[in-house]
């Protein structure tokens, strides 16, 4: 099993509903977020091109945060999801320094927190909160090992890219272009 997410940058309108849904679902403290929306404007007027990306933890195959964590609090579970065990985390910041995507934040309670792919929801057969609320249905989530999952189907049909693959992290957040 290999969970992954695909983001359709051509369908995303940047409404930030995914951000708010995540903050509500996961009780993210005010001022922080586990996912965020990036808008890239390219070119000069009138030849402008815009790309909107809903970004979050890439749940990398070769995760530097798991490698650098001195206590094993950052760990990979079945399906390739990377989680932080709060009671093992000492809040040293090594994982934050090691993440090329800056996907983590220090929770005011002391431990480091980040996107979990809503592991509590997918265990019950639901999709992650951000995927569930997306009004343009531009987020696809599922198991890459299952050829019929939403994410596998869309990745077969469309061209895609990942963020900074040259960092050697093998990210699992795919952006359809």
């Amino acid at each position: 099993m290999r969970y992954a997410m695909a983001v359709d940058t051509r369908k995303c309108v940047g409404c930030s509903d995914c951000v708010v849904a995540c903050q509500t679902e996961n009780n993210v403290p005010i001022g922080f977020c586990r996912d965020w929306v990036v808008e890239v404007m390219d070119g000069t007027y009138p030849q402008l091109e815009i790309e909107i990306r809903s970004e979050r933890c890439n749940h990398c195959v070769n995760a530097p945060c798991v490698r650098c964590c001195p206590t094993g609090a950052s760990h990979i579970i079945d399906g390739g999801i990377i989680l932080v065990e709060h009671s093992d985390c000492i809040g040293c910041g090594a994982c934050m320094a090691s993440c090329p995507y800056d996907a983590r934040y220090p929770h005011p309670d002391g431990y480091v927190d980040k996107c979990t792919f809503c592991v509590h929801r997918i265990k019950n057969g639901l999709s992650p909160a951000c995927v569930a609320v997306c009004p343009t249905k531009c987020l696809y989530f599922g198991d890459l090992d299952d050829p019929n999952s939403d994410v596998s189907t869309v990745l077969k049909k469309r061209k895609f890219k990942t963020l900074i693959p040259e960092a050697g992290t093998a990210p699992q957040l795919y952006f359809l272009i």
Partner: protein, 313 residues
């Protein structure tokens, strides 16, 4: 023109606009740990080589600084932690891939060893020292018998401590400036140089001072070589590392790095030490103080600049 903005209002001051997770605590610790490592490594090395009589200060007096530096460093590290009460989780497992993990275990060995080393030489500082209890005298005799083993342990762990402070940073490939294996040897050389400067400062023996001025000169040469080597490596590497190097070659850290670290912390003390070895008389506090100051600035600048350097995206 390409413009990239986060439109959903991410306002995390610790990662936006660039990483700002490690502050003075980590920089200070890297310096204190490096200097303690330098002091202990030099003491152990001269003891093993049987030069204790010639370099009495280095072997018996300067090591008294090490436990103080280590304890201060540990306090700084503890202040840095955000989930403080869980710090003991560091000692529930050994993670070989995480330099921070084996650094924590190294500290667990080297700190008590540095205390033992000082206890064995306590009469150098307090000639009338009395252990009060017979078992403490027995323990002292016992440890004195294995002093050579102790010195070997101290030498090996001091070198690991000195080099790990650099490897700790170079393990983060997300920060291109840190992601160079030169950082380990550079921090080790800088720590040894600060350790040699401490003996230079404390020694009252003219011959010993001369010897440590020579050691310091060699180490400064090694550091300069490593710094040039580091920038050569960066400039011949990928775009992100070229940009990391450019922060020091015309970018925002140019002045602070070249003035404080290279000129004040290396070139001027080297010049003063050469003059001292010649006929001039230079107050020893000036070169030694500058070397220690340069060593401290190196840690601060690398820690702060590294957090600014990032992958383009």
């Amino acid at each position: 023109m390409k413009e990239e903005i986060i439109v959903s209002g991410r306002m995390n001051q610790l990662i936006d606009p660039h990483l700002h997770i490690w502050h003075w605590q980590i920089s200070l610790y890297l310096f204190l740990g490096g200097m303690a490592a330098g002091i202990l490594a030099i003491a152990a090395l001269y003891f093993i080589r049987g030069r204790e009589k010639d370099y009495r200060t280095a072997v018996r007096i300067t090591p008294f600084l090490a436990p103080i530096l280590l304890i201060l460093g540990l306090i700084a590290l503890f202040i840095d932690l955000r989930h403080k009460l869980f710090f003991w989780q560091l000692y529930t497992n050994i993670k070989l891939q995480s330099p921070m993990s084996w650094g924590a275990w190294t500290l667990l060995v080297i700190t008590p060893v540095s205390f033992i080393w000082c206890a064995l030489h306590i009469k150098e500082i307090f000639p009338k020292w009395d252990w009060k209890f017979q078992f403490l005298y027995d323990l002292e005799t016992f440890l004195n018998r294995f002093k050579k083993v102790l010195a070997w342990i101290m030498l090996i762990y001091a070198i690991i401590l000195g080099i790990y402070t650099g490897i700790l940073l170079s393990a983060f490939n997300a920060r291109p400036l840190w992601n160079t294996s030169i950082l380990g040897p550079l921090f080790l050389a800088s720590g040894l140089s600060a350790g040699a400067a401490a003996t230079l400062l404390l020694s009252k023996d003219k011959e010993e001072r001369k010897q440590f001025a020579r050691i310091d000169l060699v180490l400064i040469g090694v550091e300069l070589f490593l710094i040039i080597h580091m920038f050569m490596g960066f400039l011949a590497s990928t775009q992100v590392q070229i940009e990391a190097a450019n922060m020091f070659l015309g970018g925002p850290y140019t002045m602070s790095f070249w003035i404080f670290v290279v000129i004040l912390g290396m070139l001027i003390p080297a010049l003063l030490e050469i003059m001292e070895l010649g006929k001039f008389h230079i107050p020893v506090i000036v070169p030694a103080g500058l070397v220690i100051f340069g060593s401290l600035m190196l840690r601060f600048i690398i820690v702060y600049a590294g957090q600014v350097s990032r992958w383009l995206y």
